[in-house]
Symmetry: C2
Subunit: 290 residues, 2 copies
């Protein structure tokens, strides 16, 4: 597929995701965090365009390098900290897969993206480790010999000949984005279909996105929430989201939940990343802004 | 200047402009029009990226063609009607000027953009007339022999050998955007400097944009408002904006004015286009999202 169509689809996904509201706990068009504002997300979405375009041209090699480049561009264009690290991890291999084929049907795109991840190498892993400190992303640091904030880890990766796929397999048990990347993007494609279904039911685009996000919160404990606030809190967020979904996404409940999470500093960032990936797939497959 | 830097600067300008709020009478992140929503503006800003990039590569020839292409891409990616017609008219020659030089100082960029407009030809004029019907833009139709909605006008343009510059000179007396294009982008550069000054005074980026917009409303009667509601109404809007500026942009007054204009369907669209051009220049000259 034409590289500008791929890059625009990915960029539009980032913009629609951050703009959708209310999206309990995360930055949206109606509120900023202390250090990271809605404008930081806009600037970052603009910044990464050439890298998304390059991913579509490359069609498979250099996943790690492009993730690192994407983070570099993002932090050059805005100083709001981590905006799109997790989203880029998901979007780069998907953009490569879309660039490699004119067929965006789920089985084709999914299998291609999966192949790309399985074919990553040691250099891809090292590039990811170079991107981490730039992105100012919050990470678990208990796998001491591969601590992403430690320069020595790069040596260790090289010695053990670990690919990006290997590295992400280590974090997959506790990290939602890693799990997607080594598990064949199962949720990204499933939520793309859910967003498309919501649109078929004549839901406003904004609501199709926020409802999908709520469903994901209800299904999956968010990595960031668990890491920062522990298992009890992340289970609570999940149960609370489930109740809202079951009672039919009442606006008042959504806004109250949003207010509660924002006040407590609980931001389910990984869930937002995954919804951006789902939107990208949905747009490639025909979702329109009509 | 690198084409991706030019295109990203222009795109970021479009996104920051439409996101700034409250921007009395226009679409912003907090409200939509009936047919044109905030999401339509997001999708249109994404859609035009490759055309903005091409403008920076072309460095001067084909202004009309690129405006027509920009409108084509915009309406392919969203069905919200006229989002960026006026803005594209201003951004395309500015992007060409920026692409032609590494120096973005006002005298260099302004003189280059001015040369580009003065060197437009009959083909540029014809392309503009092709773009009009696609953009669904509201226009004055009292210059009968050159009615933009009449196919025969293209023949007339060819017979009289009118360039794009000639055509815009005809509409300049009553049209703010045309006046900018034939008058050397005077206001675009002046408002770019004003936005930069507001930022130097430590205003939030959002407020720097809305204050500049209010200043423009207070200085200049908006083309759309005058055309749709007449001279009395457009003078009223101007006086009202002046009062708000003089009393120091009180939030309550801004919101009340916004509410009043939205309710009456008064949208100063040309002023928004000009602020997008000013933002583009300001970003090229160093305005940051920090």
């Amino acid at each position: 597929m034409d590289e500008d169509r791929v890059a625009r689809s990915a960029q539009l996904a980032l913009l629609l995701e951050v703009s959708a509201y209310p999206k309990p706990g995360n930055v949206d068009r109606t509120h900023d965090f202390v250090d990271t504002s809605y404008e930081h997300f806009l600037a970052s979405s603009v910044a990464v365009y050439p890298v998304l375009r390059e991913a579509a041209v490359r069609k498979g090699r250099g996943v790690g390098e492009l993730i690192r480049k994407g983070v570099e561009e993002s932090v050059k264009w805005q100083h709001g900290g981590n905006t799109h690290f997790g989203a880029l991890l998901l979007l780069i291999p998907l953009a490569m897969a879309a660039g490699a084929s004119d067929d965006c049907a789920t089985p084709v795109l999914r299998s291609k993206a999966n192949d790309i991840m399985r074919n990553t190498d040691v250099e891809d892993a090292i590039e990811l480790y170079r991107a981490f400190p730039m992105a100012k992303v919050r990470v678990r640091r208990d796998v001491a010999e591969l601590d992403v904030m430690n320069e020595a880890s790069i040596e260790e990766i090289r010695n053990r000949q670990l690919s990006l796929f290997d590295i992400l397999s280590i974090s997959a048990p506790y990290d939602l984005v890693s799990r997607e990347l080594v598990g064949g993007f199962e949720k990204s494609f499933r939520y793309a279909a859910l967003i498309a279904d919501f649109r078929d039911e004549r839901l406003r685009l904004n609501d199709a996105i926020t409802h999908a996000y709520l469903n994901l919160l209800a299904e999956e404990e968010d990595t960031f929430v668990k890491m920062k606030f522990g298992a009890d809190k992340s289970r609570y967020v999940k149960e609370r989201a489930r109740g809202i979904v079951e009672r039919g996404y009442r606006r008042g409940e959504l806004e109250e939940f949003d207010h509660e999470l924002i006040k407590a500093g609980i931001n389910p960032g990984s869930s937002a990343d995954l919804i951006a990936a789902a939107l990208f797939i949905a747009i490639l497959q025909g979702l329109k802004v009509y």
